[in-house]
């Protein structure tokens, strides 16, 4: 009985902490909306001016009519409230260059960005961890030095340049991979063909995006693995006569990986930002390329919509990372 109510108590505590975290995420989201509103106010030209310019001029009456249609004649707090309400309904405004609701344009590009970012994330976390662990096992070896050099180089090279260098090497000199886009133009195969086609296009952009984070994760994995390998429970495991492989991969790995995962969760916003550059280099049809295009076209409603939406993704990912932690490890408060 006693242990049962204790379990319920723990469960309620976790539930409450999740609820608090959810509220906190919502407050963050509200802050992002307010920031967006302020930035939109700074942006040169309001929607009506843009519309009028598009139409090639309009009468003062029509302009006044449009201003009241857009709610621009209201007071500042009223406009802010209206803006928040519209955002809450998923209305991010109209893009005048695409003549479509911003949310529709972004949703059309979302899957491409997610495919790129998640592939790069998995690639960077797994490869980085493996490299870091191997380096940690022999900290004085040539291999360990090589990992340090790769990590330094990956950090110092600008992402877009890494991408261009990979393009020149593996798309031009050795034509292994396509140089732009996500699918072959005019391809009409089955689902499997389509999948392989996307995969073929994905290799270089994903490698490029992964390269920066690979550097970071291999460094963290190396440091944390060396830390864990020096701890008491590993000494115990070793003294029991377990093989080195079992000690490293069964006992140490679990604890050494945690900092890497934490970092990956924390850096998700940077990964999204990195995707902007990589998508631009490889003409990958995601949100990042859209951001680049919206700057060229001076479509600030669209640009701010992308800023809002990518921040939304980051907040959701942070919430989910936090949630999985709480469920896996009830010690975290």
């Amino acid at each position: 009985m006693g242990s049962c109510s204790a379990t319920i108590g723990v469960f309620l505590k976790i539930l409450f902490s999740i609820f608090r975290k959810a509220i906190y995420s919502l407050v963050l989201l509200l802050a992002v909306i307010v920031l967006n509103f302020l930035l939109l106010h700074i942006a040169p030209g309001d929607p009506v001016e843009t519309l009028v310019a598009e139409m090639g001029g309009a009468t003062p009456e029509l302009i006044a009519q449009l201003r009241s249609d857009y709610g621009l004649d209201k007071s500042f707090p009223e406009q802010l409230l209206n803006y928040c309400l519209r955002m809450a309904q998923g209305d991010l405004g109209m893009s005048f260059t695409y003549d479509q609701p911003v949310i529709d344009i972004i949703l059309g590009r979302l899957s491409a960005t997610l495919i790129l970012v998640l592939t790069a994330l998995v690639l960077a976390v797994t490869t980085g961890t493996i490299l870091g662990i191997m380096a940690a096992q022999r900290p004085k070896s040539v291999f360990s030095g090589l990992v340090s050099v790769i990590s330094l180089a990956g950090y110092a090279a600008p992402v877009f340049w890494t991408g261009i260098m990979l393009l020149i090497l593996f798309s031009y000199l050795i034509p292994l991979f396509p140089s732009f886009g996500m699918v072959e133009v005019g391809s009409s195969g089955g689902a499997l063909d389509h999948f392989l086609d996307v995969l073929h296009h994905l290799v270089l952009p994903a490698l490029t995006l992964a390269s920066i984070y690979l550097a970071v994760y291999s460094r963290i994995a190396r440091a944390s693995m060396m830390d864990v390998l020096g701890s008491d429970y590993i000494r115990t495991a070793r003294s029991k006569g377990l093989s080195e492989r079992t000690v490293v991969y069964k006992h140490a790995l679990k604890n050494a990986v945690l900092p890497v995962v934490t970092m990956a969760g924390l850096q998700f916003s940077q990964l999204i930002a990195g995707a902007v550059v990589v998508e631009t280099v490889f003409s990958w049809p995601g949100m990042g390329q859209l951001a680049f295009e919206s700057i060229l076209r001076r479509d600030y409603t669209l640009l701010l919509g992308i800023l809002f939406f990518s921040t939304l993704i980051v907040i959701v990912v942070n919430f989910l990372t936090d949630l999985s932690y709480r469920l896996l490890d009830p010690r975290i408060k």
């Binding site: 090279a157 877009f160 550059v277 980051v314």
Partner: protein, 292 residues
């Protein structure tokens, strides 16, 4: 760091400096970084005088390969790549250092206030910090530069706004660490003002990790500037390495040199800064060195 050590350190700062320098100088990678750094600094100061060719000017045949007419060739318009590298260094270094300075001002101010006052001030400032961490940095920088129209000033401003959070967190953490130490408590006991304790006593003691963070921050700022210029958001009047790569983006098949060399320049600059930063980290925070 124990108390005895602390006393000798405060008594003879030049000895502490010498010790750090000896440690730095015994680090081969850090020295390599320093040599690279000195070369790049020399390039920024003397380069334009030694090689005065205007990087914007069309001086030769378009797309001439390196070594044919000019050492590093020309881009698709016939502009001299070497001139671009020499003159672009100034923009890179200027933006790198100014943006880092701006980053430090915001970060240190927020970190100091949060760490010193604690309570609701800390709570509020840390929430603001978390808010800025959620925003995708480069995307926000792009938005800011695009909205305020690209210039060196807006670029420096935007980089500062998106990259101060680690400095604030670090400063706060250092302040929390030394808040209850004897020398701070002693200052309080003799009636020193909050302002003097914060800035004259605590901040200098929190300096070593901040110096490392500032050094590495220059590298981050340079990468930001390069990315913004590459995306077409650079100052149109200042020639920069990122701009060169962005401008020749559509011609990478024909002029590989026009995109490769400026990238090498950025790479070497950031590499030099990272090596110096790592070396400083080992020299100034010897305790961390053992963990590494």
């Amino acid at each position: 760091m124990n108390t005895v050590n602390e006393n000798t350190e405060t008594a003879k700062p030049e000895k502490r400096f010498l010790e750090a320098w000896r440690m730095f100088a015994s680090n081969k990678a850090a020295l390599l970084g320093l040599v690279l750094g000195v070369l790049i600094t020399a390039l920024t100061i003397f380069g334009p005088a030694i090689y005065p060719t205007d990087p914007f000017e069309i001086v030769s045949m378009p797309m001439s390969p390196p070594g044919e007419e000019l050492l590093l060739g020309t881009d698709y318009l016939g502009r001299d790549i070497l001139a671009g590298i020499v003159h672009g260094a100034r923009t890179t270094v200027l933006v790198g250092f100014s943006a880092t300075f701006f980053t430090l001002i915001i970060g240190i101010l927020i970190g100091v206030l949060a760490g010193f006052y604690g309570g609701w001030v800390e709570n509020f400032l840390m929430r603001v910090t978390e808010f800025f961490q959620v925003l995708p940095a480069l995307l926000l920088a792009m938005v800011l530069v695009a909205l305020f129209s690209p210039s060196l000033l807006t670029i420096i401003f935007a980089i500062g706004v998106v990259s101060w959070t680690p400095v604030a967190r670090l400063t706060r953490a250092e302040f929390l660490k030394i808040k209850e130490r004897e020398f701070v408590v002693a200052e309080r006991a003799i009636g020193a003002t909050n302002r003097s304790i914060m800035w004259k006593v605590m901040l200098p003691n929190a300096a070593p990790p901040l110096i490392v963070a500032a050094t590495l921050g220059v590298g981050v700022a340079i990468l930001f500037e390069a990315a913004l210029s590459f995306l077409g958001l650079g100052d149109p009047n200042a020639f920069s390495w990122g701009y060169m790569i962005g401008a020749s983006r559509d011609f990478i098949w024909d002029t590989w040199w026009a995109v490769t060399f400026p990238g090498v320049a950025i790479f070497l600059t950031v590499l030099s800064i990272s090596l110096i930063g790592d070396g400083l980290n080992d020299a100034l925070n010897p305790k961390l060195r053992l963990i590494k």
